[in-house]
Amino acid sequence: MTGPAPLLSVQDFRLEFDTFDGVYKAIDGIGFDLAPGESLGIVGETGCGKSVTAKSVMGLLPSPPARVRGGRILFDGEDLLRVGERRMRAIRGNEIAMIFQDPMTYLNPVFSIGTQLVDVILAHQRARPRAERMTRERARDHAVEMLRRVHLPNPERQLDSYPYQLSGGMRQRVLIAMALSGRPRLLIADEPTTALDVTIQAQILDLIGELRRDLGLSVVMITHDLGVVASVCDRVVVMYAGQIVEDAPVARLFDHPAHPYTRGLLAAVPHPGRPAASLSSIPGSLPNLLDPPAGCRFHGRCPLAGDDCLRPPPTTAVADGHRVACWRAMEAADAGA
């Protein structure tokens, strides 16, 4: 792939969890690149490892039980798996910020919005040269600015409100303001709209799109909603059972899905004008990652599976910027075209 050096590059990343029942192989050798300013979607069903990937980038997984088994996570050339907690803390919020799924539980219930926002802004100052650090008053002004930026009505007044006084959409805006207050270059959004009403979802997605354009943010959008991917992402990575099965530009993925799993996902999306009866589902469920199946992890549920699928599938480029890990990639692509 040509172009500018990637801002984020995940390379052959492996991660396991130690559990009472054995070793849970959550992430098995994934790799993808994110160019500066690009918006990447990571899709897959619950338990496929999307959130674990995101939290690994932020260094938020407690270890034990999590254990990195190999690979690199390069951010601007720096390997986040090896930088240490001190440097990681400076990176969090200042370089990479994250927003989460459920805005109801991600704000501290006993502190006001202003206190929490100012605290975060002040924490960011420690990573800066002494002369450039904000005072508490300046941080408060900055907090108001950030709340205005995410279109929260009455930002000055809201500083004194507590989370329980705000709606879900407003709380997500506060969390976005918090995430962007350190002027990060990368925003990781872990299912930011899943817990919200449909109309609020659209507003939050618009907001993320707007901030992305204005601030030149790169975005990693983690979701199981292909509609979200279509509206905000340039490129998509499809994950299945801890592996990446397909990586393609958005339009390409929707028009020419190459992996049978991706095709299954797309067939399961309802379309206006098409009767609901024509919706299909993928039979079966995610394999148990304590003892993952040999070869292609999808073969147990795959309509095209054959004997060769018991061996690990090769990753092939089916078009420019379109990779797929499947023995039957061409067949599937042809069938889908």
Partner: protein, 336 residues
């Protein structure tokens, strides 16, 4: 917050009335005849009747209760049969000693218990957590009076670091009363050496008394910290680069302090009423000893007096804890 406070205060008045009614009823259905007791074993029927009339024991129950309330409000709390002094004067003498002891003891328990609970939670299942667990299990399991005796043997007799017992030395003049709290009064009167002496005397009994409270505060705070440290808002705080110290000591602890406060309040109340063992061991002139002696001799005016004072302070404790709840948690403040 003002409406919240007022509402709690009004509720407390009703609770106090309820307390008075209950204690009054209980002391009047007890089988022993206080008039006969007061008159002594040699008294004839006429003398007993005279006592009965003098103490108002011949009137109907509700009338006695009404009279009692009226007397309480005018400061006449009746006479103790066995000390022959006014109950009010006895209470003013003995209760502040107990209050001081319990206050000092709960301060030790909170000052040690909260940080130890936090440390145990942060280092869950590591050696330091196990060490703290040994402390908490023994605090709950070992009887206070035994701990007191052992402390006396070792720290007072063997090492000689602290006096064996008593409030101050026999030869020391207590400061002239202002609040009746020795430590406070001696400071207010500028009697610094008396203050140090009082402090010296309070350490051993306070430490012996604090163990059960210390243990339960550690246990509750540890459990609550473990729960709050797993909350999403803690992950969020970490994701924004806040320092571990700030996350643990401010973001998590403020949430964990809510149930811990409830435990502190409960323990404080129990300690007020449960000091008699420690007071006996350390010869501490407190209300526990006074009340037990009154109970043994069926002397019901002091029993009622002590019960009212202890009950009142128990309620005050709950009131204060409620206010702290309101300060800590905006949601409590709101639901008036």
């Amino acid at each position: 917050m003002l409406r919240f406070t007022l509402r709690r205060a009004v509720l407390m008045v009703f609770m106090l009335l309820g307390l008075l009614a209950i204690t009054f009823t209980i002391s009047h259905i007890a089988p022993a005849d206080p008039a006969a007791l007061a008159a002594g074993p040699d008294a004839d029927r006429a003398m007993i009747e005279r006592y009965r009339v003098e103490y108002g024991l011949d009137r109907p129950m509700y009338e006695q209760f009404a009279i009692y309330l009226q007397r309480l409000l005018t400061g006449n709390w009746g006479k103790s049969i066995h000390t022959t002094r006014q109950v009010w004067d006895d209470l003013v003498t003995y209760f502040p000693n107990t209050f001081e002891l319990v206050m000092f003891s709960i301060l030790i328990a909170v000052a040690l218990g909260v940080p130890l609970g936090v440390v145990a939670a942060v280092y869950q299942n590591r050696p330091i957590d196990h060490t703290i667990r040994i402390l908490t299990v023994s605090g709950v399991a070992l009887p206070m009076f035994w701990l007191g005796l052992m402390a006396q043997l070792y720290f007072a007799l063997h090492l000689g670091w602290f006096p064996l017992g008593g409030r101050i030395e026999m030869m020391t003049d207590p400061p002239q009363a202002i609040t009746h709290l020795l430590l406070v009064d001696s400071l207010l009167r500028g009697q610094f050496s008396t203050f140090v002496e009082g402090l010296h005397h309070i350490v051993l009994p306070a430490v012996a008394l604090c163990f059960p409270a210390l243990a339960s505060i550690i246990r509750v705070n540890r459990a609550e910290m473990l729960e709050t440290l797993n909350q999403d808002y803690i992950v969020n705080a970490r994701a924004h680069g806040l320092s571990t110290f700030r996350i643990v000591a401010v973001y998590a602890l403020k949430n964990a302090m809510l149930p811990t406060m409830a435990m502190i309040g409960l323990r404080f109340g129990w300690m007020l009423g449960g000091t008699v063992l420690v007071e006996t061991v350390f010869d501490w002139p407190g209300i526990g000893l006074y009340a037990v002696q009154a109970a043994i001799s069926s002397d019901f005016e002091p029993i009622m007096g002590a019960t009212i004072v202890l009950g009142f302070f128990f309620m005050m404790t709950n009131f204060v804890i409620d206010l702290i709840y309101g300060i800590l948690d905006p949601r409590v403040r709101e639901q008036v």
